[in-house]
């Protein structure tokens, strides 16, 4: 089980929930599981508007990045720079 915390607009979309216990060997599997148990987040996951911070590193478009129960995993909005 992975402990996944939410930040940003994901929190209000998820009805205020900030933490989930999820299955998955990588980011893709984890997001798939999250979409199943929290369908309100499914559109955001599909639209690829989330980033994932794993142990302090922020990953965008890195669906195959491996995850481990020991990781600090935080879902954040996808960011844009200037």
């Amino acid at each position: 089980m992975l402990t996944v915390r939410l930040g940003g607009s994901l929190v209000s979309r998820a009805g205020g929930r900030t933490e989930f216990q999820l299955e998955g060997r990588n980011i893709m599997e984890m997001l798939r599981h999250l979409g199943q148990i929290c369908p309100e987040l499914q559109p955001m996951i599909e639209k690829n508007v989330v980033s994932v911070a794993v142990d302090g590193q922020i990953y965008r478009d890195a669906l195959l990045h491996p995850l481990d129960p020991g990781n600090e995993i935080i879902l954040l909005p996808r960011m844009a720079g200037g």
Binding site: G7, S9, Q57, G81, G82
Partner: protein
């Protein structure tokens, strides 16, 4: 995947990296030969011009283009009817580049013409008749959130949930809940940890203020420009000034229903962007005109169009509360951020919320952000999008806390500074970061010791930016003379080609002048993300280093073949292949020039390449110190001295790193003192030009002192962090803190233009 973390720790001495040679594109830029967006032409080229709404919000009842079409010399006229009707992600972009049934802001495009010359094009625009029904508008973020505000997108946002949140959110108690379903509040963002209620109970001192900032513009000197050429077989070429030509290709192809492979986009030299050229405005219009006219079409925005119809940044309204114990330790912090981002969702409030308290180690922190739509042009990224405004508010409170506690502002920041292992206010735990190092260097600097005179004040502020990485693809081709052609896919906006050449030269052990970098078009290289998020020196640099390693490996293989020994018995050192050890054999080294000269007869051309979705970008922190003098009779402010201290990880080309520091600081000075979007009662922009949109001129600013701190980023082979954006995060707060100190009253409204300063001084004395 983090690359070669071990290398970055090992790599301590550099030959090329860390020097500041002349950039490869420099000669063309000092002689007028460099070709920017508007500098290209094509045979048979037409002039494209865009007609724009004079209304902030209006229903477009009808558009009659018949007279314009009949004008001799007019070759095409388009409206939204000539563009595909998209649904989904691209729809907002499509409606932003050409209004569909409502004009949503002053300057919103409504039609476009292509004609044989500018005079005919101008005449044709006047002949297009549009029947508008003017609708109520709203341009202010706080007004747009009121329950009875005019709606920018009626029915689109079911805002009931957001309104509930707003009503029950911190410090918002007592405000009436809206019964209306629709709203201008597009999203709500929540960040934080701990329990702020409990935290504030432990506080000995609490400061609390409401702040506002006005919208500013990136102010790049080159207006948007492109030249589109669509052939009758549907294939097209686009020459364009942009921060991301792959993005332009993909978005334009999607909007116009073209195959991506049929649209080749070549980036021109880019005359500044700062985030403002990370999206499309005129490019799909130029392509659509060219497709309809069957001829090349050049579209160049006027400066007025740039201000009215490109993407300025958000204006904001921010409330901050910060509590500390007597010893200066922060115990609780909270903020509510409201950013308006113009006519479509996507204001940078989420990043404003994430960066707001990122400099500090906070046990209890709560941040709420609201993204709000208004009748203004859709905002675009501007250098560390969202962060300067929230830093202005937070650092203003930190400054006041220092005053109240009687503590040195740098000491107070150091006491609470985020360090490696700190759980950030936006969630993730920081790796190795350099905030404390910037604070120490700032305190040691001579500027911090200068005694201040009458009406003078000193301001300190720190700032943070994430820095991005992302999709990157680089090629290196070995030329027959042993020099290298380096192709990168990220437009060079401030000297990045020089940095790439330095890193390739470093890796291969050859002179800097033997590497020549170009920005390749979309058909010559794999996909590259936009030049944004301070990612280029990091990500394209990382890819360049790895492409160079790939090249070196192939050079070793070739030498091994020539020597008749296994490839792993050859190593690359100082620009030549060497036998790896005495067991490998006794061969004189083969230099890159020797290998290149015989490449064609020993197995063919040699090239290195690397493609990656990079990660491991290291955050960058900065601390700025500024002294100002205020004329108490006129409110005029003079910046006396300015210091930027920032962590670059490793400065590849130190002169351009300093340039980024200095440029960001001066943009920030403009934002805090005089730059603002001024809207009239009619919702029209009143200052769409450089005369009344006042960016700093040369005589407005002093020399900008810099200190480059280098705390290596483990995610990069050389330790590089991005540097472009962090430099604009602290200045708003730093200057505001200095002006507040000089005036003796806190500045909470930006810009602090002289009338506002004088009014603040008056309010103090009464």
């Amino acid at each position: 995947m983090p690359l070669d973390a071990k290398t970055s720790k090992d790599k301590k001495t550099f030959k090329s990296v860390g020097t500041s040679p002349i950039r490869p594109d420099g000669l063309d830029k000092v002689t007028g030969r460099a070709r920017f967006g508007a500098d290209m032409s094509a045979p048979g080229m037409l002039v494209g011009r865009i007609l724009r709404s004079p209304h902030a919000h209006a229903k477009i009842k009808s558009i009659d283009t018949s007279k314009a079409e009949a004008l001799p010399g007019v070759k095409a006229v388009i409206t939204s009817a000539d563009l595909p009707k998209h649904k989904g992600a691209d729809e907002d972009i499509l409606i932003n580049i050409m209004a569909r049934d409502r004009a949503l802001y002053d300057g919103h495009a409504v039609a476009a013409v292509a004609a044989i010359d500018p005079a005919v094009a101008r005449k044709a625009l006047k002949l297009i008749k549009i029947d508008y029904e003017v609708l109520p508008h709203v341009t202010d973020v706080d007004l747009a959130m009121l329950p009875d505000a005019p709606l920018v997108h009626p029915g689109r946002y079911d805002g009931a949930a957001e309104n509930e949140h707003l009503a029950s959110g911190l410090q918002e108690k007592g405000k009436a809940k809206s019964k209306r379903k629709s709203t201008n509040i597009v999203s709500r963002y929540d960040f934080g940890h701990g329990d702020v209620k409990k935290g504030f109970k432990q506080a000995d001192v609490i400061v609390e203020h409401e702040f506002t900032t006005e919208a500013t513009h990136q102010g790049y000197i080159e207006p948007h420009a492109c030249l589109a050429n669509v052939s009758s077989d549907g294939s097209g070429e686009l020459w364009v000034c942009t921060q991301g030509h792959f993005m332009v290709r993909d978005v334009c192809a999607a909007l116009l229903g073209m195959d991506v492979s049929r649209l080749r986009v070549t980036p021109s030299e880019i005359g500044g962007g700062f985030g403002g050229k990370t999206t499309v405005f005129i490019e799909p219009v130029a392509l659509a005109l060219s497709r309809k006219a069957g001829r090349p079409v050049k579209v160049v925005m006027s400066r007025e169009e740039v201000f009215r119809a490109s993407g300025p940044t958000a204006s904001s309204s921010i409330k901050v509360r910060l509590g500390a114990r007597k010893d200066g330790r922060f115990v609780a912090a909270e903020a509510v951020l409201k950013y308006q981002g113009g006519a479509f969702p996507g204001s940078p409030v989420e990043m404003g919320a994430m960066t707001a308290f990122a400099c500090y180690d906070l046990p209890n922190v709560k941040i709420v952000g609201y993204d709000v739509v208004t009748n203004r042009p859709k905002q675009a990224a501007y250098r560390a999008p969202g962060a300067p405004m929230s830093a202005f508010a937070v650092e203003g409170c930190v400054g006041e806390l220092a005053e109240k506690l009687g503590m040195d502002p740098i000491d107070l920041r150091k006491k609470n500074a985020a360090v490696e292992g700190t759980k950030s206010s936006y969630g993730p735990t920081f790796g190795p970061i350099g905030l404390v190092e910037t604070l120490d260097a700032a305190k040691k600097h001579k500027n911090y010791k200068v005694k201040l005179g009458k009406n003078q004040g000193r301001g300190v502020a720190s700032g943070f930016w994430f820095n991005f990485a992302g999709n990157t693809c680089v090629n290196i081709n070995l030329n027959v003379d042993g020099t290298l052609a380096l192709a990168v896919g990220t437009p060079d906006i401030g000297g990045s080609r020089a940095s790439m050449c330095l890193m390739a030269a470093e890796e291969l052990g050859i002179p800097y002048d033997d590497v020549r970098a170009i920005i390749a078009d979309t058909s010559s290289l794999g996909y590259n993300d936009v030049t944004d998020g301070s990612r280029v020196t990091f990500a394209s640099g990382l890819a360049t280093i790895n492409a160079a390693r790939d090249c070196a490996a192939k050079l070793c293989e070739r030498a091994a073949k020539i020597w008749g020994i296994p490839a792993d018995a050859v190593k690359w050192e100082n620009g030549a292949a060497h036998p790896a050890g005495s067991n490998a054999g006794n061969f004189p080294p083969l230099s890159i020039k020797e290998l290149a000269a015989q490449a064609h007869s020993t197995g063919g051309p040699i090239a290195g390449h690397y493609e990656v979705n990079a990660d491991g970008a290291g955050p960058s922190f900065a601390t700025h110190v500024v002294d100002v003098e205020v004329d108490p009779e006129t409110g005029y402010m003079k910046v006396l001295r300015y210091l930027v201290v920032q962590d670059a990880g490793k400065a590849v080309h130190p002169a351009y790193v300093e340039g980024q520091f200095q440029g960001g600081a001066v943009q920030g000075i403009g934002w805090v003192l005089n730059e603002e979007y001024i809207y009239g009662e009619d919702g029209r922009l009143q200052n769409p030009g450089f005369l009344d949109y006042r960016i700093p001129v040369c005589s407005d600013v002093p020399m900008i002192d810099t200190v480059i701190v280098e705390v290596p980023n483990p995610g990069h082979p050389y330790g590089v962090r991005g540097v472009g954006e962090t430099s604009i995060v602290p200045p708003l707060a730093a200057v505001a803190n200095a002006v507040s100190a000089a005036m003796g009253v806190r500045a909470t409204t930006l810009p602090m233009s002289p009338p506002r300063v004088l009014a603040a001084l008056k309010s103090k004395s009464t």
